[in-house]
């Protein structure tokens, strides 16, 4: 048992989906006056609790719409939970939607600095790692080209290379083991597996039970935002496979 790195306590996340989209002030005032604004309350997460210690690799399983990605975004700090708290220790690197969030008018090189600074890297650190990032992304010939001219594969390669330049304490993976072509996929998998050996705490979302079984030692099964089961990966995976009818 290592040090506790991540503690998710009774986290609930509520979304208000208005039935019709109210986008303008006039609409809002009119509908408010008529009492026509009704919201569909939707709880994406309900009272979710789990912990992860140093070196734990937690798989998050669940059907589509179970709240897996929402949970990752709450842990990453992008969403603030409606209720409950998330306590994290150390540096978090979220590998969510790689390649989104670049400034498309910027060149690749400029984006390394901008994106790196958003991930909390310091300037000397980025300078030091710059060559490594470029080399890993294999974009040497395109690094001075604006990112708007990049293909989606190139963008995600650059995103992956920047995000993994640092060895994080907590790594958040949302099925990103499918970056770029087969060759790059192999390379990125190797980089992530190297990180595992450094006792990184990993949160891993996947629909692929075999992958989860291979990578993780713990798992959490979500269903409609609630925790159905959590604990040892094999037990949780068995329940999940029963649910999906694979067994």
């Amino acid at each position: 048992m290592g040090k506790q790195m991540l503690n998710v306590e009774h986290v609930s996340m509520k979304f208000c989906l208005s039935r019709e989209r109210v986008d303008t002030l006039k609409e809002y005032v009119l509908k408010k006056l008529k009492g026509e604004i009704r919201y569909n309350e939707f709880w994406a997460l309900r009272d979710v609790s789990f912990t992860a210690d140093k070196g734990d690799r937690v798989g998050i399983l669940g059907l589509n719409g179970a709240g897996k990605s929402t949970l990752l975004k709450v842990v990453a700090g992008v969403f603030k939970p409606t209720e409950g708290t998330v306590t994290r220790r150390g540096k978090i690197v979220p590998l969510l939607e790689l390649g989104a969030g670049f400034e498309i008018q910027y060149t690749g090189a400029e984006n390394i600095y901008l994106y790196g600074s958003m991930l909390g890297y310091s300037k000397p650190f980025i300078r030091e790692k710059y060559d490594e990032i470029v080399a890993f992304s294999e974009l040497e010939d395109f690094i001075d080209v604006p990112v708007k001219n990049y293909s989606s594969g190139m963008k995600s390669r650059l995103g992956f290379s920047i995000a993994t330049a640092v060895c994080p304490e907590i790594l958040i993976l949302d099925e990103v083991l499918s970056v770029g072509d087969a060759k790059f996929r192999k390379k990125s998998e190797k980089k992530i597996i190297d990180m595992f050996e450094k006792e990184v705490t990993v949160l891993f979302v996947s629909h692929n039970v075999e992958e989860v079984l291979r990578i993780c030692n713990k798992a959490v099964l979500l269903d409609h935002g609630r925790v159905l089961a959590s604990g040892n990966v094999q037990e949780v995976a068995d329940i999940y496979m029963e649910m999906t009818g694979e067994k």
Binding site: A76, V78, L96, Y106, K123
Partner: protein
Amino acid sequence: MKKLLKGFINYFFLLHELVKRGITLKYRRSYLGIAWSLLEPLLTMIVLTIIFGQLLGHGGKEYPVYVLSGRLLYSFFSQGTTNALKSIRSNAPMIKKVYIPKYLYPLSGVLFNYIIFLISLIVLAAVSIVLGIHPTLYLLQVFVPLIVLFLLTFGLGMILATVGVYFRDMEYLWGVATMLIMYSSAIFYYPEQILSSGNSWILRYNPLFGVIMNFRSAIFGQPMDLFYTFYSLGFSVAALIIGVYLFYKKQDGFILHI
């Protein structure tokens, strides 16, 4: 407070990058680049001087400096607030991905416009010297309107950024509002006639007008007007407090609306 300061140091590099992005992208792909921040106000000044100076008879060597100073302050105000207003929506892809304190987006939007504005003050200095308007000791006052202008723009920017997330209409409304503010800031006309009429409140209670007038008095070597100073400062501080309060209260909900 200590935590806030530590957070600020941590995010200083990020703020620097965001400001750099604003300046870089504003002039990217133009041949003259950042030189436009000098050239554009100069050309506008010439046009306004020809139209209002020659045709409407606002003669005198002071008029170009008068019109240029008003124009520079106003265009920072209008661009800074508009940029802050759009800052949350235009950074939506990043907000959805990585957590960084959200106030950095409107702050960087105002800040990069402020830096461009400070650079363009070089034109004002050059034109003043060429036309023989020499600096006096009163020029030291210039820091007061410059600081108040920043507070005013950032304060209103924070309010607008918050409101802009929930109502897209604000972008259009603010476009009209800035036009109204422009006409009531005495940029290309002398305010005396209005000030002595029954409609003087239009100018007096416009905080930007007070800032511009104080800025001009620093250049033309006159003492600042006390009413304008305290009114514009009070207005700016109030806007800043309301803006920061509103922004912090609402910022966790932004992500659900962008």
